[in-house]
Amino acid sequence: MTPALQIMQAGPGLSLQDYGRPGFLANGLSRGGAMDPLALAEGAALMLMPAGDALAIEMAGVGGRFRAEGAALLIALTGAPMVAELDGVRLPWPGSFLLPKGAELKIGGALAGSYGYLSVAGLQAPPVLGARSAHLAGGIGARLTTGAVLPCTPAPNPGGLKLVPEDRFGGGTIRILPSAQTDQFSAAMLARFEAAEFTKDARASRMGARMAHDGEGFSQAEHLAILSEIIVPGDIQVIGDGAPFVLLPECQSMGGYPRIATVISADLARVAQASPGAPIRFRFVPLAEALAARRAAALHRKSLPDGVVSRVRNPADIPDLLSYQLVGGVISAIHEPED
């Protein structure tokens, strides 16, 4: 059997994701792609593979059961930390691991955040419009379901690596910039928007996330009749009930709701990843701060390989060496005690 990852049992929100397919707005297609692109780059770094052609299984809220077929596979677990077990042994998150041929990987619910990522070395999928990600709203690709067999390549290395993930799973203060319709909102409305404490509504999807709060909404009467306009991920629409709705990578290409602001690119994954119910506030920042954050995020992605280290501890660093079982023979990164 050719090397493949078989999905023994799929959670409800699994799809293949890469960095999406920008450039088709004129054709009515938003860029799509991973809700947390940093998690793709982290997965690539943990597998010692190039980040540019990363492809992973995105798991919304919960994973599933997976089995290595035909060969030992190299995998990485990144994004929202989930309860993961390899043949019954709990795996640390994030990290890369060797999945022996026939071994079963079980990924349960998220402990924090919303989207976990299972990267598999050499994962293959046919490109559509230059990308391999599913764009469910646009009819490209499909959810991954139980029984799917995903071709990949034999493990090129044994994994066993870890990195320190950037914390982006708990919501917090999200930096925003004005968008095309921000100046149609009164200064008082914008001030109230910045002062409001929202929580992320549980009804979020790859298209967008509603922000719930107890106070008055943010609709203004003159906004009822606006003509549809081009929208992009990050834009914050004020929908019919007055609630802000942050557009995420799989949003439509046009929208008829007014946009109060737009989330800076460096903070968009923080909105997507926030756990249901996580607190969120919005704060306008100067353009220069947004651009600096964008550059810092790009530098951070590039520097990820430098931050990857082995999970197997150097014996000299282990204070109580004698308490460890050293005669077991084979060193398995997977079964090592974790720090």
């Binding site: 088709f24 009515g28 968008s179 100046d183 439509q252 290409s253 800076i264 690119s265």
Partner: protein, 246 residues
């Protein structure tokens, strides 16, 4: 809020601009939008990654590491000032599509209701549609979904408040002097009046998107029987007829 002067150039966050020609749709405004986007594409300013149009605006996405906001805004303003865009006319090399479509019956169950609102018989409404060269005003909401206009003023009917659960691929919707042609089965509030033999989004084809904003469409009414033959032809690779406009 004071009335805005148009055209208005807006920033959309850290990497996009929106040049809004009006706050309402008219055919000259839409033509200006299409002409301006064609000129931006021709200008090939370094750092501009993508352009698109809505009914009334031109959108530019750019890489702020390659070109800063102020420089790009200056380029846009200079191009804007270089001529009268409302008098510029539509860009060249647009295409005219002649697309077979069946109206009414099972392929368009709300034709009679829509025609009554327009104040015409169903036959007269279809004849008026078939005589109108409909411009692709914009493409959006779903991949390859064109907004076509405009029909005569009598066709300014509202959308339904409840949704049609499943209008099929090729389904034609009518409202607000416009038509839409669905590339996939869709829920919609537009009245479903017909079905066109046209595949607007073929994701595995060399040219996945047939239509571009600015193209024109003439629908050729056919019988349900002929429509089924055309659909069978579509499945073996034939296509609607297109000619390049001067």
């Amino acid at each position: 809020m004071p009335p805005q002067p148009f055209p208005t150039l807006h920033r959309m966050g850290e990497a996009s601009l929106l040049l809004e020609f009006s706050d309402h749709l008219s055919m000259p405004v839409n033509a200006a939008v299409l002409a301006f986007r064609a000129a931006v594409e021709a200008a090939s300013w370094p750092g501009v990654a993508e352009t698109a149009t809505s009914l009334k605006s031109v959108f530019l996405r750019f890489d702020p590491d390659l070109i800063d906001h102020t420089t790009l805004e200056d380029h846009v303003q200079a191009l804007l000032a270089s001529r009268d865009w409302l008098a510029e006319g539509l860009p060249h090399r647009r295409r005219l599509w002649r697309i077979p479509a069946v109206f009414g019956g099972d392929h368009g169950p709300q034709l009679d209701e829509a025609a009554a609102m327009v104040g015409l018989s169903a036959d007269a409404a279809v004849a008026a549609i078939a005589q109108t060269r409909l411009r692709v005003l914009t493409i959006g909401f779903a991949p390859g979904l064109p907004y076509l206009g405009r029909l005569p003023e009598a066709f300014d009917i509202p959308r339904k408040t409840e949704l049609n659960p499943a209008v099929p691929k090729g389904g034609l919707g009518l409202a607000i002097r416009q038509m839409v042609m669905f590339p996939v089965e869709t829920q919609t509030g537009w009245r479903w009046i017909g079905q066109a033999a046209f595949d607007g989004f073929r994701q595995h084809a060399a040219t996945p998107f047939a239509l571009n904003a600015g193209d024109e469409i003439l629908y050729r009414p056919v019988s349900a029987m002929e429509f089924d033959d055309v659909i069978a032809g579509l499945e073996t690779g034939q296509d609607a007829m297109a000619e390049v406009l001067p």
